[in-house]
Subunit: 150 residues, 2 copies
Amino acid sequence: MNEYKIEDISIGMKEEFQVTVTEEMLEMFCKLTGDCNPLHQNTGFAKICGYPDRVVYGMLTGSFLSTLAGMYLPGKYSLIQGVEVKFLKPVFPGDTLMIAGYVDEVHENFRMMKLKVLIMNQKEEKVLKGKMQIGWLSEACDFNKGGKSC
Amino acid sequence: MNEYKIEDISIGMKEEFQVTVTEEMLEMFCKLTGDCNPLHQNTGFAKICGYPDRVVYGMLTGSFLSTLAGMYLPGKYSLIQGVEVKFLKPVFPGDTLMIAGYVDEVHENFRMMKLKVLIMNQKEEKVLKGKMQIGWLSEACDFNKGGKSC
């Protein structure tokens, strides 16, 4: 987990990581949120609708932006203030996603930055693009405590 | 699960539902996304930062918008195209959230609508506000198939 402070951030900084979306993640998202829509849970229904397989929940793909902020950019002291995303192409189980964030604005007085975010699949097709506004936790928690690996 | 077609939708239509956020949901979100940031996973760290308890992931709160679209408004034939959210107040484990969507625009020619969304806690404090753009699946999948309960 990164621990960038606001003063470590400059425009153009980038962090990225990969995730392979599994069938199990779709089951878990249904259990977690109660969204058990058949497009995401029933392969037969998805095929009738013209897709090769169940479609990954857009908001599951979007949830990896939480990981981008909370683990990578800025990491430990992150506090997400707002998110805007557009879903550009469907994601399917087995797809490997590259989640990337680029610093677009830094407002040191407000302890806040804006990122451009982009998620691409293994074919380098853009599946999600968007923006995030991220602040920093209070300086009170800048201690070498906490942190938990999965 | 609702099964609204675009022709059933009119401006001002509203759907809402409640969810109580549990500690287990925070563990599940960490496992699902890899975001195991201590603000959400370590009560001691959250308290040092000035919160009474671990803070619920903003994107977990946001994930209930998937449920709003996929189960309620419009339900079965939903395809989320874009989401914008602002996080207004922290959510804590044990909070009961009311997730509400209101139809703000209907574009029948594009088989698309825009919702205003609002999430409030049990004290009727707004914790999230935003917008969603939602399309409909192809008419090919308008059959009485699929659906799976959690």
